[in-house]
């Protein structure tokens, strides 16, 4: 005997074998609570569970109508299995980082310390993979704040650390100029990823969680790209031109969300 059988018996009124009930109650605190004081709680819960609510007459027809609109490229894309959607997002990101890095890589690229690039690649990719994986899956989301707060802190901390971390061969003497160019370059390369993430999202309206996770992923993607592109290690330049991309994406998605709600 298990708790579900006890519940079903309360709801249906069907009697259960007494010995088995006793045996179950001896080891089950929650069912004992149902039976206490004349089983009042069990009976009251059963009465609530037996309530029948009214469905609108053409309720299924309304759903069928909405399903008829589920056609086209976006409908096809967001109905792909999660692993496919996840792979598509990460592959596009890697493709853009590689293309961007090959097209215009930093002047001191040959002297760039390999351990630093390896470390940065690993840290950024891990964060991006976590953000994408978390966002695209159908896992339970009992506490969104706890879910994405860590990622957001990470997303903000990494570029700041990158800006102030000691780096060989990086010109700290350079000025903050060119930050706007870097910002535009990063934004341009992450634009296709933003579009793909929007297309892959299954929710009718983007949630706060979606906005934050996508912004974190896009900001980190842009930072990864700019790390290969720009040798200017001036902290102001890095914070304004590189790290600000995450914030910019957050504002852009939040604005789009507000407009879509209006």
């Amino acid at each position: 005997m298990d708790c579900s059988q006890i519940r079903d018996a309360f709801i249906s009124g069907e009697p259960l074998p007494e010995e088995q009930v006793k045996e179950h109650l001896a080891s089950c605190a929650q069912c004992r609570a149902l039976y206490a004081h004349g089983a009042a709680l069990g009976q009251r819960l059963a009465a609530q569970a037996a309530e029948v609510l009214a469905l609108e007459p053409d309720f299924f027809g309304q759903i069928e109508q909405k399903l008829e609109h589920e056609v086209g490229f976006r409908a096809w894309l967001r109905s792909r299995p999660t692993r496919v959607r996840f792979a598509a997002a990460v592959l596009l990101l890697l493709l853009l980082v590689v293309v961007g890095g090959v097209l215009r890589h930093r002047a001191d690229f040959s002297q760039y310390p390999l351990p630093r690039v390896g470390l940065l690649l690993c840290v950024y990719l891990l964060a991006i993979v976590l953000a994408f994986g978390h966002e695209l899956s159908e896992s339970p989301r009992p506490n969104a704040v706890r879910d994405y707060a860590g990622l957001l802190v990470f997303g903000l901390a990494v570029p700041i650390l990158a800006a102030f971390a000691p780096a060989t061969e990086v010109s700290r003497q350079a000025g903050a100029e060119g930050a706007l160019g870097c910002f535009g370059y990063g934004a341009l390369f992450t634009l296709p990823i933003a579009g793909l993430l929007w297309a892959l999202d299954r929710d009718e309206r983007p949630s706060i969680r979606t906005v934050c996770l996508c912004a974190a992923a896009l900001g980190l993607s842009a930072n990864l790209l700019l790390e290969l592109h720009c040798g200017n290690g001036n902290p102001v330049h890095v914070l304004l031109g590189h790290a600000s991309l995450g914030l910019a994406w957050l504002l852009a998605w939040a604005t789009a969300r507000r407009i879509s709600r209006a």
Binding site: G13, L53, S139
Partner: protein, 201 residues
């Protein structure tokens, strides 16, 4: 005669049929799940329309996620995971605080039940007591009692362990009893009280 003897397809078989393109299977899933989902949704919402909207969204999401459904997996906790995510997002979007404490007497009036049907005072009191529970306790009790999920299924739907959801259910029951004026649990009385459902009825 053969039709009468034909076994009723399981939820998982229906889902597999729907993935393979059988639209009638989707209709049957809707018939089975819409009352459960509606009851689970309506508890926290102020109107049946809001609950129905979330039920609709759940089925749309089910359609979009159908290729994620893996053979061997149970359908019920999976659908309820989708529904719970949508409900939580609904509350966040509407900035409505639905996590209340037992000490808070300003509990919002819960959904009033079917149209044109008066709820008894006892039912109303029970609904309000449920509404006043902390969200994590209420969620487990509602899924178990109104969604028809077993505790292992509840654990899967909320992303927790079976032991944890049982503890939450127990705390919820104790709090409900206190709220309903049944006093604190008395282990002796519990054993001596109503040993079988048949007797308790």
């Amino acid at each position: 005669m053969l039709a009468i003897c034909a076994p009723v397809p399981s939820d998982e078989q229906l889902m597999a049929a729907y993935i393979a393109g059988d639209k009638a299977a989707f209709r049957e899933l809707f018939r089975r799940y819409s009352p459960l989902l509606q009851r689970a949704m309506a508890r926290d919402l102020r109107s049946l329309e809001e609950a129905n909207d979330l039920v609709q969204q759940t089925f749309l999401h089910l359609h979009r996620s159908r290729l994620d459904f893996e053979p061997g997996r149970k359908l019920k906790p999976w659908i309820f995971t989708i529904a719970l995510n949508l409900k939580r997002e609904y509350f966040r979007r509407n900035k409505r605080r639905h996590e209340t404490s037992l000490d808070d007497d300003r509990v919002p009036e819960p959904f009033e039940g079917p149209r044109g049907q008066e709820r008894s005072d006892a039912a109303r009191e029970m609904a309000r007591a449920l509404q006043a529970l902390p969200a994590e306790h209420r969620e487990v009790i509602e899924l178990h009692w109104f969604g028809g999920l077993s505790f292992p299924e509840v654990a899967e739907a909320v992303g927790s362990t079976v032991a944890a959801v049982k503890v939450r259910a127990h705390r919820g029951y104790v709090a409900l009893r206190a709220r309903l004026g049944e006093g604190s649990p008395d282990p002796e009385a519990m054993h001596e009280g109503k040993p079988s459902v048949a007797e308790s009825k």
